[in-house]
Amino acid sequence: MSKAAEIDIVSVSKVYGTTTAVEDISLKIPAGTYCCLLGPSGCGKTSTLRMIAGHESISSGDVRLGNTVVTDLPPAKRGTAMMFQSYALFPHLDLIDNVAFSLKMKGVDKEQRRAKALDMLKLMQMEAYATRRPAQLSGGQQQRVALARALITDPEALLLDEPLSALDPFLKVRMRVELKKLQTSLGITFVHVTHSQEEAMALADLIVVMNDGRIEQAAPPRDVFERPATAFVARFMGDHNVISGRVTGARDGMVVFDVIGGGSLAARGHGREPGAPIDIAIRTDHVRIGDAPALGLGFTGIVSNIEYRGATVKLSVTGAGIDDFTVIINDSDFFARPVAIGDAVPLAWDSQDAIVLGHLHS
């Protein structure tokens, strides 16, 4: 089970009638990577996964797994295995027969396939339940059985469709630790669909943020969080304030722009034509209360809400042209110099914390 395959998606589209679910995406997932397809519902992440798995036909483009083009192969001939959102364990079979199902279909004789299934259940620490039916198991146990059933086919890549969404929050965190451990020990490629950025950050080596059938950014988690490529990514990953405006000029290697209905801000970046639209992102925890270190690196707003969160305090600030600006400051800083709702406060950030965001070419 040490072979892992690179997955190469080459300008793949999926069209249902007149709606385009996935629009000309290209993506290379290196062998042995834990990849998370992340995005809101309807963004095309599940369609993409199902096209890799072979449960959805590919309207145009190709999918390559290792050295084989699998575009027209049936699911079981691709070297992938899929774990379904609701696990789809067969309710009429006990765990051994569930796990041994693929071997039975291949015609492996009974003793041999049951022995192999039991080994797989042992790997998942489920051998004690071998003769139970799926309905008698908890969600976490069902997931382990579903993993065993998928992995017994000896896949080069495991495809997981929202594997943690059926679990309660506590179990979610526990099972994701198990998933990561399993991927590390097997060394095969995992492609995991999720709408939870927290889940993606915790698990992935490669996060692929999708929106509207297209890839907004594909990068390691730290890159996605620290250098979001687009306004969508910054908003979806959270913990960022996105400010939009129009470029007015350049100064000291900074782009200067006007917030619509508000003041003038600056951000490090290349010269853009005046009048061009621009979005910047500022991490909520990199904003401080105080005077700006340079022109355009802060503004003054009215505190509209304060939430105490224990280690941190969350301030919501409204400024001219900036509706809802979030500031996270640590509790000691806040209580050293507290502010109240309705106060006007100066906010500031450093020049490296204002990130100029890009746009997708349409």
């Binding site: 079981a76 008698q136 998928a150």
Partner: protein, 272 residues
């Protein structure tokens, strides 16, 4: 522990239910009791002694009515209807999972016979058979007439079943290397088996006690419901009640056997 005061609606519904039970089981009990009428007793109360005379009489040759033959015909017809209903409903249920041209029209066309009065269908089939020059018989024209009744029901049940059947199970099977036939045999069929048993039971009982649709289509030989009806007008002894009791007991046995089968399947499925 204090009880909440029961509302007026509760009592109204309780009375309604009591009446319902009375109407269902009252006459049934009267027939049951009268079938044990003494040898010299008549068709009405009071009981003139208690005996099994009329049950014994049932299996002797009757002056009018052929109980054994009609029972056999009804049983065979019921089984024929059951098998065809199960197979066709299953296939139709599978077919309608895919969208195809004219699916809605075809659906309404096939369930329309549920709203046409059964006696009209019976009459129509009888007339057409006569016109074409075929002799109506319980295993041809009546068989067809029964299917116009059981198939729409069976198809409707299978629709409900497949509506709740997640395609993920079949995708999972395909992902694990099953062919379409293997997916059907090893996953779909076992999972819907209890519903198929239900459809079969339904088809059998609907056919077994069908009267109106058989009336004009059975030809020379009667099915059991027709025979019983004929006997009520000609037979003047409590053997009629004995017949009622025996056929009712038979129906209950069929239902019990089916429930037993479903329980057995369920037990096997959940056994630890």
């Amino acid at each position: 522990m204090s009880h909440e005061k029961r509302t007026l609606e509760f009592y109204a519904l309780a009375v309604f239910f009591a009446l319902f039970v009375l109407f269902l089981y009252g006459p049934l009990s009267a027939i049951l009791i009268l079938s044990f009428q003494g040898e010299t007793g008549g068709l009405t109360f009071p009981l003139n002694g208690v005996s099994l005379h009329w049950f014994a009489n049932l299996f002797e040759r009757q002056a009018v009515g052929d109980f054994g033959g009609s029972f056999k015909r009804s049983l065979v017809l019921g089984l024929m209807v059951m098998i065809v209903t199960v197979v066709v409903s299953l296939l139709a249920g599978l077919a309608f999972r895919q969208k195809f041209r004219g699916a809605t029209a075809l659906f309404y066309l096939s369930v329309a016979s549920l709203v046409v009065p059964s006696i009209i269908i019976s009459l129509g089939i009888g007339v057409v058979f006569q016109q074409v020059g075929l002799r109506p018989a319980w295993y041809t024209s009546a068989f067809g007439a029964h299917l116009t009744w059981t198939l729409p029901f069976g198809v409707l049940i299978m629709f409900a079943v497949f509506n709740r059947f997640s395609p993920a199970y079949e995708e999972a099977a395909r992902d694990l290397g099953a062919s379409s036939w293997q997916t059907f045999a090893h996953v779909v069929l076992p999972m819907i088996a209890p519903s198929l048993i239900g459809v079969g039971l339904f088809g059998f009982t609907l056919s077994y006690d069908e009267f109106a649709r058989t009336l004009m289509t059975s030809g020379t030989f009667n099915t059991l419901p027709l025979e019983i009806y004929g006997m009520t007008t000609n037979v003047t002894t409590p053997v009629l009640y004995a017949l009622g009791t025996v056929t009712t007991v038979f129906s209950f046995l069929v239902i019990l056997a089916t429930l037993g089968a479903i329980l057995y399947v369920g037990r096997r499925r959940t056994r630890a």
